[in-house]
């Protein structure tokens, strides 16, 4: 009896460990024929963007338990910074066909935008959140809403309420053939770049000293402070990285869609947050997973003609998850800890 229990328990654990990869393979396997290759690639690309933004939410939440409402708008500002850099600094008006030239420009674009956004993110943390570290919970939340609103309206003030064109540096005509369908190289590049960034983040968190400090701080701030972790520095770095990733997402968004608007951050922010919750808030791998799931749902909805209800579906998903499984798909931070 006891042995049987042990065996079934370990079998269960094995199944539990394999559940995620099996689930992902199943999910992709089912959605590919349903969506068709074009929409499939489209969903993957959108998913990469959501995942990058969701990472920022989940990291900040993991470390200071604050829903950084302004994060979606940091992403939006990132897309405008990218627009400004590529059109004004690089002087690009459309795509660049010279390959070395293109590679240099894109690299520069990523580097500059990530740097600028990381600074802006850290600045927001320093000015708006740090003074409220010990304040009642409501205070930083309200501040975050305020920051979000300020960012949105500053951008609206300077760039207007309409959609702004962003130069698509990578030519959209370049593509490869996959089983009869044309897959643009741009998509492959976008997905590749995002996945590379996420991978780098995972390595950073698990292998470096700072990454370890971040993990211990998220588990118990006071204890890790006693262990000699510089809390302020760690939180600052979290914001640097999270905002940098949002900046990268901004670049990617511009390259892929060729436009942006001041309202981008609000909607995408909500979706990216849903992605973070879906994956288990505080869990970086979960955030990436959640981002892809949300994108597939959204693309699926519009593929079947319910595009304008996509937002409603995503939001319902958020509520359902918060109510029935607040720890998300991959767990981590307990959802209803007081």
């Amino acid at each position: 009896m006891a042995t049987a229990n042990v065996t079934s328990a370990s079998a269960g654990r094995l199944l539990g460990n394999l559940r995620l990869p099996i689930g992902i393979v199943l999910f992709l396997g089912i959605s590919l024929p349903i969506l068709g290759i074009d929409q499939f690639v489209n969903a993957l690309t959108l998913g990469a963007i959501y995942a990058l933004v969701a990472l920022g939410y989940t990291m900040v939440y993991g470390i200071i338990e604050l829903i950084n409402f302004a994060h979606g708008d940091v992403f939006m500002v990132g897309s405008f910074v990218a627009m400004f850099i590529s059109s004004s600094l690089l002087g690009a008006e459309g795509s660049i066909t010279n390959v070395p030239m293109l590679a240099a420009s894109v690299l520069l674009l990523f580097a500059l935008t990530i740097a600028v956004m990381a600074l802006i993110g850290a600045l927001i943390e320093r000015l708006a959140y740090r003074p409220l570290r010990r304040a009642p919970k409501l205070a930083p939340l309200i501040t975050a809403i305020g920051v979000s609103f300020i960012l949105q309206n500053i951008i609206q003030f300077f760039f207007g309420p309409t959609i702004v064109t962003v130069p698509q540096l990578v030519p959209i005509e370049w593509s490869i053939q996959v089983s009869g369908s044309r897959v643009p190289l741009l998509n492959i590049f976008v997905i590749g770049a995002s996945v590379a960034l996420m991978f780098a983040l995972q390595v950073f968190i698990s292998r470096t000293r700072t990454g370890r400090a971040m993990r211990t701080t998220s588990m118990d701030r006071d204890a890790s402070s006693l262990m000699g972790v510089d809390i302020n520095r760690t939180i600052m770095i979290t914001f640097l990285i999270g905002s940098g990733l949002a900046g990268a997402a901004g670049v990617v968004h511009g390259l892929y869609y060729g436009n942006t608007s001041f309202a981008l951050g609000f909607q995408s922010g909500l979706k990216a947050f849903t992605a973070a919750v879906l994956g288990g808030i505080g869990n970086t791998a979960g955030a990436a997973l959640g981002g892809f799931i949300i994108a597939f749902i959204e693309v699926g909805a519009s593929a079947f003609g319910y595009g304008r209800w996509g937002g409603a579906v995503v939001f319902s998903l958020l509520v359902i998850f918060l109510v029935f499984r607040p720890t998300g798909l991959l767990g981590s931070h307990s959802g209803d800890r007081a």
């Binding site: 409402f69 305020g146 920051v147 309206n153 918060l322």
Partner: protein
């Protein structure tokens, strides 16, 4: 009754002591005096130069509507400590309830007065609908869910064009009337002014009574220490749900009045900015202080709709080259954000702190010094 009986001093001590005991009467007299004084004030320079008295009265009516909205939100945020970021959705639902019940679009023409109640009930139902699954969650999750709800309602109103006429909204909404005595019109702002002020008075009296009741104490307890409140026998979910329902039903009622006042509802009127402006009023006035919040709303409204507008005409008149290009009205949104951030950083208890919130936010200063 159970409040701290602060010693009443000063020149008007007997008067103030009287109104402390009879607060409902005090609110009634106060609002009545104010409602007479404000229009009189607009006949005096410099106010008479800005706009006609009728336009002023119209502006005051809108300000009072906005103030009611802020007071309702204050029940949720200030009393129960729940951050509701989708408050405009309930306002929208109230407005559309009346629009569907009394407009050429639906072809139904129900009388205005019972619809006030209906708006409140619709608001409360949706408040419970949103709150019931989410109020067991931690507070910051609630904030994001309400934010999403506030986004979904206008989207739905916009997309369900069969029922709401989409982006065009529903126009030609019936004006209220007292059959045989008084027909409200768009030209004459006074009847609406009177109606809104009566409602304002009622809402304020009701909120003060709630604050002093068993339920109000329960909200205080939950806000301060949820676990202790549960261990005092409070069913916290139900109490929070009640706060949510009260706030939402006030927004619903105000939505009906607002729809009747401007005779058109469109999804665009209920964007996120409306929720944020109400939040800004609550934060500015002082969370938990009903009169403070109403005043905060009044200040913000007058600032944005009079001062910024004036700035536009002023700059235009003087034809200052650079400033000429700027529409100062657009600043109102940045203003909300700045109010939220600055107040939280510099004066979290608001301009007119509620006695309780003042103490709650007090440890902030010690915290800054690194003391735990």
């Amino acid at each position: 009754m159970t409040r701290i009986a602060d010693a009443v001093t000063g020149p008007f001590a007997p008067v103030r002591a009287f109104f402390r005991r009879h607060r409902s009467l005090g609110i009634f007299v106060g609002v009545a005096l104010l409602s007479i004084a404000l229009p009189l004030l607009t006949r005096v320079p410099p106010f008479d130069g800005i706009q006609s008295t009728n336009a002023w009265v119209n502006a005051f009516t809108t300000a009072a509507i906005y103030a009611m909205l802020a007071m309702g939100l204050n029940v949720v945020i200030g009393f129960a400590g729940l951050l509701d970021l989708g408050y405009a959705a309930f306002f929208a639902l109230g407005g559309y309830t009346y629009a569907l019940a009394a407009s050429p679009f639906s072809g139904i023409h129900l009388p205005f007065w019972p619809m006030l109640l209906a708006g409140g009930i619709v608001g409360a139902i949706f408040g419970v609908l949103l709150g019931a699954p989410t109020l067991r969650l931690r507070g910051d999750y609630l904030a994001i869910v309400t934010l999403g709800f506030g986004e979904i309602v206008p989207i739905t109103l916009m997309n369900a064009d069969k029922f709401t006429d989409g982006v065009n909204g529903i126009g030609g909404i019936d004006k209220p009337s007292i059959p045989g005595i008084l027909q409200f019109t768009l030209i004459n702002p006074w009847p609406m002014y009177g109606l809104v002020l009566v409602l304002f008075t009622l809402v304020m009296i009701m909120i003060y009574r709630l604050e002093d009741s068993r339920l109000g104490r329960t909200w205080d307890a939950i806000r301060e220490d949820e676990l202790a409140a549960e261990s005092s026998g409070v069913n916290t979910v139900i109490a929070k749900l009640q706060a949510f329902a009260v706030g939402a039903s006030i927004a619903g009622i105000v939505g009906v009045v607002n729809a009747a006042k401007i005779t058109i509802v469109t999804p665009d009127q209920f964007r996120f900015a409306v929720s944020i402006s109400a939040l800004a009023a609550v934060v500015l006035g002082g969370m938990g202080n009903t009169i403070g919040v109403a005043t905060g709303a009044f200040i913000i409204y007058l600032f944005q709709s009079i001062l910024l507008k004036q700035l536009n005409t002023l700059v235009e008149n003087f034809n200052i080259p650079v400033l000429n290009q700027i529409d100062f009205l657009e600043f109102q949104y940045v203003l909300y954000g700045i109010v939220l951030v600055l107040m939280m950083l510099k004066r979290p208890q608001g301009i007119f702190p509620a006695r309780r919130r003042m103490r709650e936010f007090a440890p902030l200063k010690i915290g800054k010094g690194g003391l735990k």
